[in-house]
């Protein structure tokens, strides 16, 4: 039986093969998958904002931000038998859904999210294996820890795997 674990916005979860893990409707948000290829364990976090320093309140959900979200994912992966040194990453999302002329802070959030995710991965020395980022369309992604493939579906284009 094929079990698909769903991850909501500003949420994260862990799966082991033969489970799949999916998040739907990524716009400016970025889906970050970290996985241990041999152990076939993977985690997915659906990041909304680049930096937890943007938080105007304490106690906000850590999965919302690129920095705290990826760090929390590492903790959960370790608990589920993934080896820290073997972790690799695939990412998707970070689109700009609406076009604006004004230079408001949160408007270029897609590219800022991508930058922040990559920065966090670099500082944690996790290899980024594949990405499908930017543009101006939404994405639904699904990761299969069995073959480490990330499926990406958009509204108008066909399905692809990275």
């Amino acid at each position: 039986m094929l079990e698909i674990v769903k991850v909501g916005i500003a949420d994260l979860n862990i799966v082991k093969a033969p489970q799949l893990i999916r998040t739907s409707g990524l716009g400016s948000c970025v889906g970050v998958v970290l996985y241990d290829e041999e152990k076939k364990v993977a985690g997915l976090v659906h990041v909304m904002l680049p930096d937890s320093a943007l938080a105007k309140a304490n106690m906000l959900n850590p999965a919302k931000f690129a920095d705290t979200g990826i760090q929390e994912l590492l903790v959960q992966l370790a608990k589920n038998g993934a080896r820290r040194s073997k972790l690799k990453a695939k990412i998707a999302g970070g689109a700009q859904m609406f076009q604006f002329e004004s230079g408001r802070d949160l408007i270029r959030i897609g590219s800022r999210n991508i930058e922040a995710v990559k920065q966090e991965l670099r500082s944690l020395e996790i290899n980024l294996i594949a990405e499908d980022i930017g543009g101006n369309n939404g994405r639904t992604i699904e990761f299969n820890p069995d073959d480490s493939s990330l499926m990406i579906r958009t509204v108008n284009k066909s399905i692809k795997y990275i």
């Binding site: 909501g8 500003a10 904002l49 929390e72 639904t140």
Partner: protein, 219 residues
């Protein structure tokens, strides 16, 4: 997986919730009138829905994160800043774009054609403009809406854009949601939602303004 309970910005009293409902009522009442004039049809609104929802529940209002919809988004700056969406189903957007273009003697060349998009943007402009003008009149607050942008995509991808500002302060959104639809449902040309998402910092100003106007005795 993250077990923390959602962080709630603040709890509102029943009275404050009623005030927000009134804002939705007056705003969308004016939007319905404007739409009625524009289309020359009878347009009706449902009683506004005001509630605290998680971000995921927000997507459910539009048929789920993956559902393909037409979204018109605009930012409201000023004394009660926030975001506004007009959401239409793809079928509805197609019907209305076709009807309005043909009324003007233009061919309908699909929803993704520039003419259709620009027309729907203008529709969003009229709806949001009349909604916000009514709120500005009611509260005496200055509101400066941007011109709406359009996206035809997954509901999650569209709506999350409007949640960014408030997500820095809260894990839930308070949503003021109204549906407009044509009275004659057999020929329904319009059926859509207008959603107002105020920034967390806007509520106190809004409640205060309504209080000064004698609309709120104890908030």
């Amino acid at each position: 997986m993250t077990n923390n309970p959602p962080f709630v910005l603040q709890q509102f009293s029943d009275k404050q919730m009623d005030l927000l409902k009134e804002v939705g009522n007056i705003g969308s009442g004016h939007a319905a009138t404007a739409l009625s004039t524009l289309l020359n049809r009878k347009i009706e609104m449902k009683v506004p829905n005001v509630e605290f929802v998680t971000f995921e529940e927000m997507f459910d209002l539009a048929g789920g994160a993956e559902n393909k919809i037409v979204g018109l988004f605009l930012r409201v700056d000023g004394e009660a800043a926030g975001n506004m969406f007009c959401l239409l189903s793809v079928d509805q957007a197609q019907i209305i774009a076709k009807e309005m273009l043909q009324q003007q003697g233009f061919p309908f060349e699909g929803l993704h054609h520039e003419m259709s998009k620009s027309l729907l943007q203008e529709l969003g402009n009229i709806l949001s403009g009349s909604y916000l003008a009514a709120i500005a009149d009611l509260t005496n607050l200055s509101l400066y809406p941007t011109v709406p942008s359009i996206s035809i995509d997954m509901a999650g991808a569209i709506i999350s854009h409007g949640l960014l500002e408030l997500s820095t302060a809260s894990d839930v959104a308070i949503v003021v949601n109204t549906s407009l639809h044509e009275v004659d449902e057999t020929s329904s040309i319009f059926n859509g939602d207008i959603i107002l998402l105020l920034d967390s910092s806007s509520f106190s100003q809004l409640f205060q303004a309504l209080d000064v106007r004698g609309k709120c005795e104890t908030c």
